[in-house]
């Protein structure tokens, strides 16, 4: 079955079996291996991608269901090859990752959160990553990373397009 996908701002076409999940197609057809395959039945969050800006589990969506949406994977976050997004960099700075298995999902979940607010509470962050399991860090450094990224984005002086459209929560 032919499917038209829009992945990281690029239109792509794939001919896939309906039973192939978006996760399978991202990894196997488009070699976007940053989206990790963990449990493959909706429990771990390793496969998180953004669909129209909202985090979803790509293992619980068939690729044939994904046409017409804007899909963002971890590969789509960095501003340029070899660079890191502010959130990605914050994860490095605060040791928000160890083995890295959960990291793409965590970062995309955090990215979606910080699109809506730049002053998240600890509870907001915990809720945003509540569907993502990490077996290494104990979560503390991940929460720290997201807080750190929010702090940096809040004081960043280059206006980002998204901030002109959505209300920004002022720093306390």
């Amino acid at each position: 079955m032919k499917v038209d996908l829009r992945i990281n701002g690029v239109n792509r076409v794939a001919d896939v079996e309906p039973r192939k999940t978006l996760l399978d197609v991202l990894r196997e057809n488009f070699l976007l291996n940053g989206t990790h395959a963990g449990c493959e039945h909706g429990v771990c969050g390793a496969c998180t991608v953004l669909v129209d800006g909202e985090p979803v589990r790509s293992c619980l969506m068939f690729a044939v269901q994904a046409d017409g949406y804007e899909i963002t994977t971890i590969e789509g976050l960095a501003p340029a090859p070899g660079e890191l997004s502010v959130i990605q960099d914050a994860f490095c700075e605060t040791h928000g990752l160890q083995c890295g298995y959960c990291t793409p999902g965590m970062i995309l979940a955090a990215h979606a959160l910080l699109q809506n607010t730049l002053a998240p509470t600890r509870e907001d962050i915990a809720e945003a990553i509540s569907g993502n399991i990490c077996r290494c860090t104990g979560y503390g450094q991940i929460i720290e990373a997201v807080q750190f990224a929010a702090d940096r984005l809040r004081v960043a002086n280059t206006p980002r397009p998204i901030l002109t459209e959505k209300p920004v929560v002022e720093a306390k």
């Binding site: 079955m1 909202e54 589990r57 619980l60 269901q65």
Partner: protein, 294 residues
């Protein structure tokens, strides 16, 4: 694991979807896929055909009409959670939605899918039964409806027939001004399926006397159960009356036993959470001045 092969169709109209369903015993509806896809992946389900109803315009939308809020079956749980009409008019639904899975599952999972799936511990069916919602169906012969009490038959079992699908859920809106809700659940991790859940809604008059009350428990029996605590109407919902009413109503609660919890544990926790939910609903209503709200 990977799902077994199937055909995928995305009809443009609800009538077409019903016709496809009616004509094929091995066809199955897929909405948000948050329950069905794991079942396919583990090969607990092997339909030959999946009929995708998520984008059907007839199943979209949330509207208020004649003392009720009608929520289209394909409404995403995340969308319902943010919806101002639901917050204002069906506060119990707004209250439980943050407990349904996690943000990513709520971004895809639908209100109608949760109803159709009829998990005994699912929060949305609990609200439907507790408030006495009506389930609106699409059938090959046209629209139909049935009360929640008749719709939920057992664990993952509903009265839905071949060729039918859930069109919308009609949640009654209480006419009173001061309404409050309470909700508690016990689960292994927040937002996992509840071992026991209790949801309450109360309406108070200006003096703080109870005008109306509803209490339901989930995860206890083979489907969500409404408990009869109508004896609390007219009282001030003092702790002793609440305790007495909940104990009396849970007398013959038919609780199930599984590897997560014994029947005795479930019964005991249901009573405790039922009491807490009513107390929280009372305090929530008391803190509500009733102005602006309905």
């Amino acid at each position: 694991m990977k799902p077994a092969p199937f055909d995928y169709v995305r009809p443009d109209t609800l009538a077409e979807a019903c016709a496809l369903l009616a004509g094929d015993e091995d066809a199955r509806v897929i909405a948000g896929g948050q329950t069905l896809v794991p079942m396919l992946a583990m090969r607990l389900a092997r339909p030959a055909k999946l009929i995708d109803i998520l984008r059907l315009p007839e199943l979209a939308g949330i509207r208020e009409e004649n003392g009720a809020v009608v929520v289209g079956a394909a409404t995403r749980q995340a969308q319902a959670e943010r919806d101002p009409v639901i917050r204002a008019s069906v506060p119990m639904l707004a209250r439980v939605l943050p407990w349904v899975g996690h943000p990513p599952t709520r971004n895809r999972g639908t209100v109608g899918g949760s109803i159709a799936n009829a998990d005994p511990s699912a929060e949305i069916p609990l609200v439907a039964v507790t408030l006495g919602a009506e389930i609106l169906l699409a059938t090959p012969d046209g629209p139909a409806s049935m009360p929640s009490d008749d719709f939920f038959v057992g664990p993952m079992l509903t009265a839905i027939g071949q060729g039918e699908c859930v069109r919308a859920i009609r949640f009654p809106v209480w006419p009173h001004k001061r309404i409050g809700t309470g909700f508690f659940e016990i689960s292994a991790r927040k937002s996992d399926f509840a071992f026991v859940a209790a949801a309450a809604q109360v309406a108070l008059d200006e003096e703080g006397r109870c005008l109306d009350v509803a209490l339901g428990v989930g995860g206890v029996g083979d489907r969500p159960l409404r408990l009869d605590v109508s004896s609390l109407s007219g009282t001030r919902l003092d702790a002793a009356s609440i305790r007495e009413a909940v104990n009396a109503a849970s007398g013959e609660l038919d609780a199930m036993s599984d590897l997560h919890a014994s029947a005795a544990y479930r019964r005991r926790v249901a009573v405790t959470l039922g009491i807490r939910a009513l107390e929280a609903a009372r305090d929530n209503a008391a803190a509500n001045p009733g102005k602006g709200a309905r």
